[in-house]
């Protein structure tokens, strides 16, 4: 597969890098308030908002899938539905791993 630079997801990936990484300078010549270098402090809050927005867009997709699963359940495809229910527990378990 080829690396990409121009999709919606690569933008998020890139902005993370621009915001959080890079060469570190001596703090005493960097613009700061009360000794705390102000490297994007407020921006993090803004970006958090953006991520929420993104996940909201994604959630709509998820919602549609859940509806589709419900339909499948009705249609009697129990095995698939069960795997989906279990994955609901997995989402919770996952927060414990990382």
């Amino acid at each position: 597969m080829e690396p990409t630079r121009d999709t919606h997801y690569t933008l998020v990936d890139l902005l993370d890098r621009v915001l959080d990484k890079g060469v570190v300078l001596y703090a005493d010549i960097i613009v700061s308030v009360a000794g705390i270098p102000l490297v994007g402090v407020n921006l993090r809050v803004v970006l958090a908002g953006m991520e929420t927005m993104l996940s909201y867009g994604v959630m709509q997709e998820w919602d549609q899938k859940i509806r589709a699963v419900k339909e499948l359940q009705k249609a009697g495809l129990v095995a698939y539905a069960r795997a989906t229910n279990l994955s609901g527990e997995m989402t919770y378990a996952k927060s414990g791993w990382h």
Binding site: K21, G22, V23, V24, L38, E61, A83, M90, T91
Partner: protein
């Protein structure tokens, strides 16, 4: 603290917004390509330079999401431009502004920093020549993986079989047990995948930083998030390996880049 009677013109010029360090001693203007259309130019010291624009000694801050994204993209565009022009850059993170201090101007402070830190910066530039950063994010679908585990794990298969023929009460308890068993299997599968994929990626790259995974969606959870440093001409090789992982049932890979080496220039 700024004096109230200070004019805009006086305040301008008290800071230098830093984009990156490049391996060139050239004193040159790159034009009005900076954040908010600022003129971007270099401050050279020997054979390296800082790529900057002139600004007030105040950080860029806003709660306007669009505006912030514009700034971040403008920052990246300048770093990209310098990267293309000089081949190797050490990117600086967004909103790093050098100020004047104790009577020393911002521009002199940038130059003094280049001088003091020259050996370290030069060494990093040399080591990063011809290399780029790539993002590798691997996702899995817990549904698909769980279904496959059902086929391969004897314990889970037995429980499933038993549930079918058991009275409701016992079946309920065994369903609970099945859920727990699957969860455990999925966790150990995730660990195994992480080690296996990490090893497979490692063979094709010079350096890896393991990043925090991000919340995915229910049918595509991120199980690993890596920043990889490698020679640009080896990207195809890594891509081929990632293609194999992407082809495994239930897995998908996001491969981004080439980026300037943001994750490999810290102290």
């Amino acid at each position: 603290m700024q004096q109230e009677d200070e004019t805009e013109a006086q305040r301008e010029g008290q800071g230098r917004y830093l984009y990156c360090i490049a391996g060139s001693g050239e004193r040159v203007s790159l034009g009005a390509i900076g954040i908010d259309g600022h003129n971007v130019y270099t401050i050279p010291y020997r054979d390296i330079c800082a790529v900057v624009h002139e600004c007030p000694a105040e950080p860029y801050q806003s709660t306007d999401r669009e505006l912030v994204n514009c700034w971040l993209l403008a920052h990246q565009k300048v770093v990209d431009e310098a990267w293309q022009r000089w081949g190797t850059v050490l990117p600086v993170g967004f909103d790093t502004i050098v100020m004047d201090k104790d009577g020393v101007g911002a521009e002199d402070n940038v130059r003094n920093w280049l001088q003091k830190d020259y050996d370290n910066l030069k060494d990093k530039i040399e080591k990063l020549k011809g290399k780029a950063e790539y993002g590798v994010q691997i996702f899995w679908s817990p549904q698909v993986i769980a279904q496959n585990l059902t086929k391969t794990s004897p314990e889970i298969r037995q429980l499933e079989e038993a549930i079918k023929s058991q009275p409701r009460g016992i079946a309920y308890l065994n369903k609970q047990k099945l859920g727990g068993a699957l969860k455990k299997e999925l966790e150990s599968k995730a660990d195994w995948c992480f080690r296996d994929f990490y090893e497979r990626v490692r063979r094709h790259v010079d350096n890896i930083v393991v990043e925090k995974t991000k919340l995915g969606v229910q049918d595509a959870q991120m199980i690993m998030n890596l920043s990889c440093l490698l020679p640009k001409d080896k990207a195809a090789e890594l891509g081929e390996e990632l293609g194999k992982i992407n082809a495994i049932d239930g897995f998908s890979v996001r491969f981004t880049g080439p980026w300037p080496p943001y994750s490999f220039v810290g102290t």
